[in-house]
Point group: C2
Chain length 460, copies 2
């Protein structure tokens, strides 16, 4: 043992921790694209090796029907709580590549930030949690509590196989609650913890006209243009007020109480500053709700991609055979992925213009919306540690995004998930030039050490 405290160890090893993170980010572990399958495996193996180096036990890369899950544990604190630490090693695709200032998989330090795909979501926060564990094991030779780790490889594709995996390994994963290294903090200047996340469901639409691409002069006016049909169909999904125009879409949406709307209204949020931060000319969305309400309390139906016909240089006078769109919805209690997809598919079939045929494919990996009770002890402790770290009261917020694990762990293990991530939501994850703040790497390690330490003291 080193004679250092875990806190000292964590503070002095920042360069080493950052070095590990850089190596981790350099692995292009893109889960959605089969072209990266070997890199996914490499990402899992790297993580497993690092876990062993931290001093964790029973480190294993476990196969699933999709990408592998990396597991480990340290269970030598009898009578103390057991937590399950969750994170993911897969990342979003790097496209559009042309918009990155530096290559997405060549992590680069700039202005106190580490730039690279996955730096913030979720490789940085995973390395933070592991550094806290190493800080105990490398100094005191033991952890103040029992820890299990489950780092998955399919978070960016909706944790498609995690539900099956957790169900199958329910005994081995049993814990008091889940502490998640994923799920970004709302704002950099304010300690916050997310207690709710929206669900998600996804589908792909293909509209087909003629069997082959046609010359738009020779055939224009005779047959339907799938691009035109698709535009009309997609435009029908929202009404003039920005609300989703799909019959049944809002049927099971829980309306917030006046108190809930009031609490949301009390959260400091500068709409103009937000719009500047994303470079948007103005806000937009469903009429009758504030921006935070639209993002946190209301479901959405978003087009994530449209393609068909010619998109190269110059012009090509073609009526394409096919046109495509990708759609996802963010869901709020008590919507379900299945029922939402049902009513969208019915809407699309009912509104398909003449002259074309429609095919709808449901993407796997839907997720339920979730919410953690505000008095959960793991959540109260997280609030306390953040208040100590930042000297400000921790605000409970919601997430517009989806972390399907909340629903999975509750359903399969009967436990809640507390988010304790040091990623920040402005760090351009899912966009070019993703980054992770170095001060959050430093603060995160200390906060996780404090959390594990306090949780151990609460026992008995």
């Amino acid at each position: 043992m080193s004679g250092q405290t875990p806190e000292q160890w964590g503070a002095e090893r920042q360069d080493e921790i950052l070095g590990t993170l850089r190596e981790f980010v350099a692995i292009p572990s893109v889960s959605t694209d089969p072209a990266y399958a070997a890199d996914m495996r490499r990402g899992a193996e790297f993580l497993a090796a690092h876990m062993r180096a931290c001093g964790l036990e029973n480190v294993a890369v476990r196969t699933t029907a999709g990408h592998p899950v990396v597991m480990a544990d340290w269970l030598h604190a009898p009578e103390r709580p057991t937590i399950l630490i969750y994170g993911h090693y897969d990342v979003q695709p790097p496209e559009p590549l042309a918009k990155w200032r530096t290559s997405p998989f060549e992590p680069t330090l700039r202005d106190g930030r580490l730039y690279g795909r996955g730096a913030s979501d979720d490789k940085g926060p995973v390395i933070v949690a592991l550094a806290a564990i190493a800080a105990f094991l490398q100094t005191e030779g033991r952890l103040p509590i029992n820890i299990k780790l489950l780092i998955e490889g399919e978070e960016e594709i909706g944790s498609a196989h995690l539900d099956d995996f957790v169900a199958e390994h329910a005994m081995a994963l049993a814990a008091d609650f889940v502490l998640s290294a994923d799920g970004a903090t709302w704002r950099a200047d304010l300690p916050t913890i997310a207690v709710a996340s929206r669900g998600i469901c996804a589908l792909e639409v293909t509209v087909t006209g003629a069997e082959k691409d046609l010359h738009s002069g020779r055939h224009g006016g005779s047959v339907a243009n799938p691009l035109q049909a698709l535009s009309r169909l997609l435009a029908s999904l929202h009404d003039e007020t920005g609300a989703v125009a799909v019959s049944g879409f809002y049927d099971s949406v829980r309306l917030p109480s006046a108190d809930e709307r009031q609490a949301l209204g009390d959260i400091p949020f500068d709409e103009a500053a937000y719009l500047r931060s994303v470079g948007a000319p103005e806000g937009a969305g469903e009429a009758g709700w504030t921006m935070l309400e639209r993002n946190w309390l209301r479901p959405t139906l978003e087009l994530n991609g449209i393609w068909g016909g010619y998109s190269g240089p110059g012009s090509k006078t073609v009526i394409p055979s096919e046109a495509h769109a990708k759609i996802t919805c963010r869901l709020v209690p008590d919507q379900t992925p299945e029922a939402t997809l049902d009513c969208i598919e019915q809407h699309l079939q009912r509104n398909c213009p003449p002259g074309v045929t429609l095919s709808v494919t449901r993407e796997p990996g839907g997720a339920f919306p979730v919410a953690v009770p505000p008095d959960h002890p793991g959540l109260r402790l997280a609030m306390q540690v953040l208040e100590e770290t930042y000297g400000q009261k921790t605000l409970l917020v919601r997430m517009g995004a989806t972390v399907p694990i909340g629903g999975i762990f509750r359903q399969r293990l009967g436990i809640e998930t507390v988010f304790f991530s040091f990623a920040t939501s402005d760090e351009d994850y899912h966009a070019p030039n993703e980054f992770f703040r170095l001060e959050r790497l430093r603060d995160g390690v200390q906060a996780w050490i404090r959390y594990l330490s306090l949780l151990g003291q609460q026992a008995g």
Copy 2:
């Protein structure tokens, strides 16, 4: 001299003519994509060399502000007419490559057809015209009339620089009329000549939301989605009846007389067979007009491409920063490209949804709609030769497609353009698996020989 007649020479050299065509098709002279610039130059040089081999004089590859024009002449028939033969050596892009049965630039014989990009549009018909010229020069050492040739390299991009080029070389190009090797015959089983073609104008639309791609969970509901805005905007371009919903679009459209509609109705056209031939489930378009009327007499507004967001495997939960569409209109008398673009741009600006900004780029190369007087002598002769060749009365038809040269030659040289092409409109030009019928190669050479011969006899 060989002692053969031009007709015998043409008949016996079919293999050689086909060989030349195969070499020509193997050159990927795609005008729209700068990546093929060297191949464009190679296509022009190949054509020039072949013209010299045919016995033509003053063969020259002339630079323009765009791709080069290939010119040649033979002017040793005093007191005889002078015609300007038109064609083009550029081709459409080969995409989508996956749909080709054989590689687009490896010309392949199958079932009496030559498959390859440009085989029908317009390399086959150009080689037909040159073979007829060679047939005279290689047997009789002279042509029955004076001939000038202008084979351009920008037909597939709207003959963008042809207007300037013709204006600049108006003296050198002076002729009695233009005989065009471009402009496909309407049907394979019926001798037809097109006497009208639709004009064209093109634009590209970009809708921009936030400055960067955004995570659809974190931001969905807060800001506008450019794909959704673009769909709404594009859907607004047509009404429920399939008519263009752009104010002013139809203002200058000449309505056909009852006689004209009757004449069109008398043309044999099997709608069901047409739909089968393109594999379309049903016809579609502007209500209140027959399919032929929609294609020949009515203008269209077609989407040729839409792109934005993610289109790769799996899903990506992104709100893209930008969404794009390419649009072309087919114009009929007396619409003009400029006025049409004006009213579309006004419509787009007026209908742009909130939360996004709109930018519109007008593509160069618009073209006026044109029509040839039915009593033009060059047209009457073409009708006669086709009737002799196929033993059936030649039908005068219109083209849904655009051949901008009609307008250019009329405006700059004061002469009409007669279409005398042996391409057929079902030969999948502008689509995968373009082909040219070998029997049309054979018939075409004989018909062009006959045409030149008869035109020489008419003189004096």
